[in-house]
Every structure is written in structure tokens, then in C-alpha cells.
């Protein structure tokens, strides 16, 4: 069964906060839900499906959030595969709607990662109970280090340069300057990135996303219901998800989940790379964007460094990318998949203001969750504002 235009994003709201020591995680989530439902012209009583997970949430946190908002959904999904989770939730919600399990799904995230001083990138790696952890944690892996090892190998195999990595951060900052809610809006140069301190070689501080507070929510409903609502529907065309890990010790670490999830999403959506007008690609680190673009097939392996150069990924370039400023410059409250979906929705509705991509009809969203250098997930979605 195809999911093409079976469901649509009809509400989207990004919490403006970047630092909220006076709010709780559930409060940020509930305010985000309120914002997304108001955007859709729906009420909390219309919600019969709920998807959530989070860095600050227990493994049954979804139940606690249902309690907080007195929700009694008939479809729930708390798939927890890192920052990509909300992208996967959106596909699961569309499938559930198409199968008749529910009609209107709220997908929500909130976090106080910054005000609670989570050291997500450099505080060691969470976990410890799984078999694989016993062979990793004694050696001091960090999240940054995991991605840095991918960058090091990419530079070795393909000659990718620190300047090319830095270009991703520079463009993100240019976009953030056009986003009034972005946390860091002062322009930076390639030289600034290279002069920032080394966190885990070859990744500098400005190659890394920030840690902020924040939250957001989207509302997904059936295409039939979507037609009567306040905002123009953003239809889901296709989706894919995938996982990569150490593969019993034989993995090629430059083969990432995006290769599998991207191919599935393109096949299922029935569109090609030429049809993509803009992309939201998880930018936990600058290398994440370059490796993802290659694995999604926007360029060949090894060409990612050249691809991101020369303004191609600016909002007015050939493939506008992360037009809100991304996790590098706008916000990154521990997990960023939600904000990829919200910005793609804004672009497809023509609501992106100074950074609006011209004639934006089709957008690709790709979330990466976990660590590229050990275990990670990839979730790809292709969205369109065209009714058919």
C-alpha cells in the first residue's frame, strides 16, 4: 500500500524558547502541542493519536505525558531511535492513519537540555547496560568523537578538507541571521570555524551543534480531513527508515543509514533528486550533513565536501539546506528531528520570511539519531504541498 498523499501535516509550531530554566519539559511539550493545534485550527479533543520520546523522559514517558494532558489516544508510538525519532513517528502516524487506526496524530517534543546542563556531546555516552557498551565505554567514546571518527575517515578517503566542513556551519549561520528565533545570528567565516577550539579532532567547536532548550509539535491527519483545515496541507509522499551499527566488526563506516532510508523514501514517493526544492538534513555536526548528502544520493561518495561549497546549499542556491539555521545555529534541545519537520512545513507553506525558498513544492527531511561512529538510525521523509 502506498502512503502517497494519504496523510498531511496540518499544524506545526516551534517553541520560541532557547533557554527556559523556569519551565518543565512537559510544560514546553504542552505549550508546543497548543501551538501546533491552534496552527491547524484543531483542539486537543481532536487528537486520537500521540507520538513522543525525549532525552529527558523515562522509557514510559509517553504515559506520563498522556496523564499530564489527560489524553486517551487510540494510537501511540514512542519509537526511540535518537534525534531522528520524530521523523520516523511522522511516517508511522501516516501509516496508522492510512490503516484506519486513528485520524489525527499529535507528534511532540520538548527538552530543557540546556538549563539542566546536559553535556550531550562531551559528557561521555549514556547507556552502559547493553552488550555492545561493554566494549566501547571503557575507551572513552563521546558523541562528538563518534562523528569525528567519521570525519577523519572521510578526509582520509576523499580528501575532504576542514574548510569544506566549515562551509556547512557558515551557511547555517547565514540562514540563522534570517531567522529571528535562531540562537546564534552573528555572521561567522570559515576562518572563525577553523580558529575555534578543537573538541574532538578534526571537529572544532563551531563544527558542533549547540545544546539549547526548546520544543515543538506537528499535527498529522488524513488527507480528507486536511482539506477542510486552516492551513494548506503538507502531504507526505514517501518515507524510509534504517539502522547502521558495527555489523559484527565488518562495517564500512562511511555507509550510513541514509543510504537505505533515502532510497526507500524516493522509491515510495515516486520522485527523483531533481524534484527536491529544499532539504532539512540533521546537522548534529558539519560532517553529518556531508555524509548524509552523499548517502542520500544528492552527490557521489566523496563529493559531499565540494557539493556544500560555492553557495549551493544557501536558501537561494541549487539545494537550499537547513534554512532555519539548523542545530548549528538555531536550536538543538538534545534531539532535532522535530525542527526539521517544522521548517520544511514552513517552507512548503511559504511562511519562511526572508529565508523563503522560491517555488518550494517538494522538500526532503532526513533525521539521524544516535552516533554515526557506533550505532545510529536514519529516517527520511519526502513532503509536498501539491495536491496531486
Amino acid at each position: 500500500m502506498s502512503l502517497i498523499r494519504k496523510a498531511a501535516i496540518v499544524g506545526a509550531w516551534e517553541h520560541p524558547t532557547r533557554f527556559a530554566p523556569n519551565k518543565t519539559m512537559f510544560q514546553i511539550m504542552a505549550e508546543s502541542a497548543r501551538g501546533a493545534l491552534a496552527d491547524a485550527g484543531l483542539t486537543i479533543k481532536d487528537v486520537d493519536g500521540l507520538c513522543t520520546t525525549g532525552v529527558g523522559m523515562g522509557w514510559m514517558g509517553l504515559l506520563g505525558f498522556c496523564d499530564y494532558l489527560n489524553l486517551t489516544p487510540s494510537f501511540v508510538d514512542s519509537t526511540a531511535i535518537g534525534g531522528s525519532s520524530f521523523v520516523a513517528h511522522t511516517a508511522h502516524a501516516a501509516a496508522a492513519i492510512a490503516a484506519g487506526l486513528c485520524e489525527t496524530v499529535l507528534i511532540v517534543y520538548g527538552s530543557t537540555a540546556a538549563s539542566q546542563r546536559f553535556a550531550i556531546g562531551t559528557g561521555g555516552v549514556a547507556g552502559g547496560g547493553e552488550p555492545c557498551d561493554q566494549y566501547e565505554l571503557p575507551f572513552g567514546p563521546t558523541t562528538v568523537g563518534s562523528y569525528a571518527m567519521i570525519a577523519q575517515r572521510h578526509m582520509h578517503d576523499y580528501g575532504t578538507t576542514p574548510e569544506q566542513l566549515a562551509e556547512v556551519a557558515v551557511i547555517a549561520r547565514q540562514h540563522a541571521a534570517m531567522n529571528p528565533e535562531a540562537k546564534y545570528r552573528e555572521p561567522i567565516t570559515v576562518a572563525d570555524v577553523l580558529a575555534s577550539r578543537m573538541v574532538s579532532a578534526p571537529l572544532h567547536l563551531l563544527d558542533c551543534c549547540m545544546i539549547s532548550d526548546g520544543g515543538g509539535a506537528i499535527v498529522v491527519t488524513s488527507a480528507a480531513r486536511a482539506r477542510d483545515l486552516k492551513k494548506a496541507p503538507v502531504y507526505l509522499l514517501g518515507a524510509g527508515e534504517a539502522v547502521r551499527h558495527a555489523a559484527r566488526g565488518v562495517r564500512d563506516f562511511l555507509d550510513i543509514a541514509a543510504a537505505q532510508s533515502g532510497q526507500l523514501a524516493f522509491e515510495r514517493a515516486g520522485v527523483s533528486h531533481r524534484d527536491i526544492d529544499m532539504a532539512m538534513i540533521y546537522d548534529s555536526f558539519t560532517i553529518t550533513v556531508i555524509a548524509t548528502l552523499e548517502n542520500l544520493g544528492f552527490c557521489k561518495p566523496g563529493e559531499g565536501g565540494a557539493f556544500v561549497s560555492g553557495g549551493r546549499i544557501r536558501f537561494d542556491g541549487e539545494l537550499p539546506l537547513n534554512t532555519d539555521g539548523g542545530g548549528l545555529s538555531s536550536n538543538h534541545p538534545g534531539m532535532r528531528g522535530m525542527f526539521l519537520l517544522i521548517e520544511a512545513t514552513r517552507q512548503l507553506r511559504g511562511e519562511a520570511g526572508a529565508r523563503q525558498v522560491r517555488d518550494c513544492r517538494t522538500a526532503l527531511v532526513h533525521g539521524t539519531g544516535g552516533n554515526l561512529g557506533t550505532r545510529h538510525s536514519g529516517a527520511t521523509l519526502i513532503l509536498s504541498n501539491q495536491a496531486g
Binding site: A119, T122, G123, G124, G128, G129, P131, C132, Q134, Y135, E136, L137, P138, F139, G140, P141, T142, V144, G145, A148, M149, I150, Q152, R153, H156, R197, M198, V199, S200, A201, P202, L203, A246, R248, G249, V250, R251, F253, G373, T374
Partner: protein
């Protein structure tokens, strides 16, 4: 007290019945890999079943303990106990001559000397009376 070693603060592995033979071999300064007796697939880390064919019939193969640096990072920032006092250190994947990649540390050299493709040899680091870690140093 002067001369007395500080308590080991880095994370230690949880030993259980599935992984104990491997850790006990390391304690004897021997590095082993597993091979499936049915399909022949090698695997690291050790586990009870072959992930290729799900067979439980496993043999232990003694590794030569030599390989090359597959990739690495010099870690300058890690707030975790034990590591915050050990910066900078090299986190790396070593590809053993048997073809399997292991996450490890490269030791006994300056971090700036580490290169991808550099030949390395295992060094057994007895971090506690119970636990020995397989790290690697430049091969002479």
C-alpha cells in the same frame, strides 16, 4: 598518599556468563575472536549466537593482535569521570589483520603521531585486578 595509585575512575565492563571467557583471556594477555562453526563468520564483540546464521556453535580463534588504524579522533573534551583528567587521548577503530574492527585507544605515542593506516599491535592494560583492556600502540 604519595606513590599510591588513584582509584580507577573510568567505566568498567559488566562481566556476565556470555562474555566472561573473553575478558578472562584478556586477563591472561590473550586476544580472542569468535568464529561460527556452522557458517564460518568471524565476529567481534563476543556474543552467544552468530548474527549471520543464529548458530550457537562457536569456536574461539586466537588473534595475532596486529592491525591498522581504521579511523581515530583525538579527544580534547570529555567531562566523564576518569577521562576528564586524561585529555587529550586517542579514540580509534583498529582493523585487525583478521578483518574485524575494534573500538579502542591508541597509546604509547603522542596523539599527533596517529595516522589512518598506521600499523599497530595490541597492548594489554591491566586497569584493575579483574579487568584488562585491549589497547593498541604503534607497531615497531
Amino acid at each position: 598518599m604519595a606513590g599510591e595509585p588513584k582509584a580507577y575512575a573510568k567505566p568498567l565492563p559488566h562481566l556476565d556468563e556470555e562474555n566472561r571467557p573473553w575478558w578472562e583471556a584478556l586477563k591472561r594477555h590473550e586476544l580472542y575472536l569468535q568464529r561460527c562453526r556452522d557458517c564460518g563468520a568471524l565476529r567481534y564483540y563476543p556474543r552467544a549466537l552468530c548474527p549471520e546464521c543464529l548458530s550457537s556453535r562457536t569456536e574461539w580463534i586466537r588473534s595475532k593482535g596486529s592491525g591498522k588504524v581504521y579511523t581515530f579522533t583525538i579527544t580534547y573534551q570529555n567531562a566523564a569521570a576518569g577521562f576528564r583528567d586524561a585529555l587529550p587521548y586517542v579514540l580509534a577503530y583498529v582493523e585487525l589483520d583478521e578483518g574485524l574492527k575494534m573500538l579502542t585507544n591508541i597509546v604509547d605515542c603522542r596523539p599527533e603521531q596517529v595516522r589512518i593506516g598506521m600499523p599497530v599491535a595490541v597492548v594489554f592494560d591491566d586497569v584493575t585486578p579483574e579487568v584488562t583492556l585491549a589497547k593498541f600502540r604503534p607497531a615497531v
